[in-house]
C-alpha cells in the first residue's frame, strides 16, 4: 500500500469525485442528494407528502411482488413438516377441543351473567367498534425496527394513530398513511410506548417495546405487587386507544416485569384497523 499523504488525498478525491468509466454520478454528488432528501423529510408540506405517498405506494407494491417467490417457499416447507406431524397434532387438537368445549360452556354462562351486570351498571361493550380488515402486504423483519405495511390507505379511511388489532388482541398503531397503503408500528418496536392497565390489581403503567417478543413495563407504582400471569390491557388514558383491549400477560425476565403478547407479531397476515370509537350499544 502507498503511504504518502498526497496519495491519500488523491485516493480520497478519486473515490468521491471521479465518476469512473460507466458511472453517471460521483459519490459526493449522490451523498449531497441524499442529505437534501433527508432534510426534506423534516418539511411537512401537502405537495411533498403527496409525492412521498405515491413513491411509497409504488415501492410497497413492487416489494410485495418481489416477495412472492420467497413467501411461497416458506408455506410449502411448513406443509411438508405438517404431514410428518399429523398424528401428533391430531392428539393435541383432540385434547384441546375437549378443554375448549368445557371452557365454552363456562364462557356462555359468564357471558349471560356479564350482560346482566352490564345492564345494571350501564356500560357499553368494548368490542362494539367499526373496523377495517387489512392484509399485511410487506413484513420486512428488520432487527432494529418492527413494523408492517398494510394494503389499505387513506382511500379506505385509515388515519394516523388508529389502533391495529390481530383478532381481539392489540398489536400496534398506524404511523404512516399513503393513498393505497399504510404502515403500522408494532408494540414490540423500540419506539412504541403504550399506556396500559394491569388487572386484577388495576395498576397503570407504560409498556415499552424492546425489539423482541416481549415488552417492558415501566413507571409501575411504588411497592406494587405485580404477579406473573397478570393480564395487561390498553388503559386508554392517552385518548387514542380504547381501554380494555387485551395485549398480553405479565412475565418476569431478569428481575424486570415484561409483557408476553397474546399475538405472535412475526406471524401477522391480516390485521383489523379500528376506524371509529366504540359504538354505543342499544340501551
Amino acid at each position: 500500500m502507498v503511504t504518502s499523504r498526497d496519495d491519500f488525498s488523491i485516493a480520497i478525491r478519486s473515490a468521491f469525485l471521479k465518476k469512473g468509466t460507466k458511472q453517471k454520478f460521483s459519490l459526493l454528488a449522490l451523498i449531497i442528494v441524499s442529505i437534501i432528501l433527508l432534510s426534506l423529510e423534516i418539511i411537512n408540506s401537502k405537495s411533498l407528502n403527496f409525492v412521498r405517498s405515491v413513491v411509497k405506494d409504488v415501492i410497497y407494491r413492487t416489494s410485495f411482488i418481489t416477495s412472492i417467490p420467497g413467501n411461497s417457499i416458506a408455506p410449502a416447507i411448513t406443509k411438508i413438516q405438517n404431514y410428518f406431524e399429523v398424528y401428533e397434532q391430531y392428539e393435541t387438537v383432540k385434547s384441546k377441543l375437549e378443554q375448549l368445549e368445557n371452557q365454552q360452556n363456562r364462557i356462555n354462562y359468564l357471558k349471560v351473567e356479564n350482560d346482566k351486570l352490564k345492564k345494571v351498571i350501564n356500560v357499553t361493550d368494548i368490542y362494539n367498534y367499526e373496523s377495517i380488515t387489512t392484509k399485511v402486504l410487506v413484513d420486512k423483519k428488520s432487527p432494529f425496527l418492527k413494523s408492517v405495511i398494510l394494503n389499505k390507505g387513506f382511500n379506505s379511511g385509515l388515519k394516523k394513530g388508529m389502533p391495529v388489532l390481530d383478532g381481539h388482541y392489540f398489536v400496534g398503531r398506524i404511523t404512516e398513511v399513503n393513498y393505497l397503503s399504510s404502515r403500522a408500528l408494532l408494540i414490540n418496536d423500540l419506539n412504541s410506548k403504550i399506556p396500559v392497565l394491569i388487572e386484577p390489581m388495576g395498576y397503570q403503567a407504560i409498556m415499552s417495546g424492546t425489539g423482541d417478543k416481549v415488552a417492558l413495563l415501566e413507571f409501575l407504582p411504588k411497592n406494587h405487587q405485580l404477579e406473573i400471569g397478570n393480564l395487561v390491557y390498553t388503559s386508554g388514558t392517552d385518548g387514542i386507544f380504547f381501554p380494555g383491549v387485551p395485549i398480553g400477560r405479565v412475565e418476569s425476565i431478569e428481575k424486570k416485569f415484561h409483557v408476553r403478547f397474546f399475538s405472535d407479531l412475526s406471524q401477522l397476515y391480516f390485521a383489523n384497523v379500528i376506524t371509529s370509537k366504540i359504538i354505543e350499544s342499544e340501551q
Partner: protein, 171 residues
C-alpha cells in the same frame, strides 16, 4: 444469433450483483434469525463493498443510491438514511480500490471492519440525533460483527461469480 446469445449471457451475468442488491432491498427476504439475534447480518453491505471494490462498473453509484431509497421506504426509515450509509460504504471501498496494489480477500476483509464500523455509526447517529429514532446499538453491533465474519465466505462466492463474468466477457 450466436453473437446475440453471447451478449445476452454476458449481460445477464453482469446484472447478477445488481439483481441481488435490488432483491435484498425490495423483498421480505431477511437474514435476521429471531431466535439467535447475534446471527442477523447485513448482506447488502457485503454486496456493495465487494462489487465497488472489485468491479465498480457492475454496481453503479446511482443504483446504490436508489437501493438505499427503496430500503428506507420498505423498512420505514426517513428517506435518505440508507442511501447515505450505502454511499459512505461505497466511498470506503472506492478509496481502498485506489490505494490497493495487490488485492486479496484477507486484506479486503481487514478493511471491511472499519468500513462497517464507520457506516453503522453514521446510520446510528443520523437516526438517533436527527430523527430521535431509538436503535438498539448492541443489536446493531452484533449485526455488524456477524456481517464482518461472513464477508470472506460471501467474498469467495462472489469471486467465482466475478471470474464467470470475466470469462463471459472474453468469450
Amino acid at each position: 444469433m450466436i453473437l446475440f446469445r453471447k451478449n445476452f449471457v454476458s449481460r445477464f451475468f453482469n446484472l447478477i450483483p445488481l439483481l441481488i442488491l435490488f432483491f435484498l432491498v425490495c423483498s421480505e427476504t431477511n437474514f435476521n434469525f429471531e431466535k439467535l439475534s447475534f446471527l442477523s447480518f447485513n448482506l447488502i453491505y457485503i454486496v456493495i463493498f465487494y462489487w465497488v471494490l472489485k468491479n465498480p462498473d457492475i454496481l453503479g453509484y446511482g443504483f446504490i443510491f436508489l437501493a438505499g431509497i427503496i430500503n428506507d421506504v420498505v423498512i420505514g426509515l426517513p428517506i435518505g438514511v440508507s442511501s447515505i450509509t450505502y454511499l459512505v460504504l461505497a466511498g470506503f471501498a472506492a478509496y481502498v480500490r485506489y490505494l490497493t496494489v495487490e488485492p486479496s480477500i484477507i486484506y479486503d476483509w481487514i478493511v471491511f471492519v472499519p468500513s462497517v464500523a464507520v457506516t453503522n455509526s453514521v446510520y446510528f447517529y443520523i437516526l438517533r440525533i436527527f430523527f430521535d429514532i431509538e436503535v438498539d446499538y448492541i443489536v446493531l453491533a452484533l449485526n455488524a460483527g456477524s456481517t464482518i465474519l461472513l464477508y470472506p465466505i460471501i467474498g469467495i462466492l462472489f469471486n467465482f461469480l466475478s471470474k464467470i463474468i470475466i470469462v463471459q466477457k472474453n468469450v
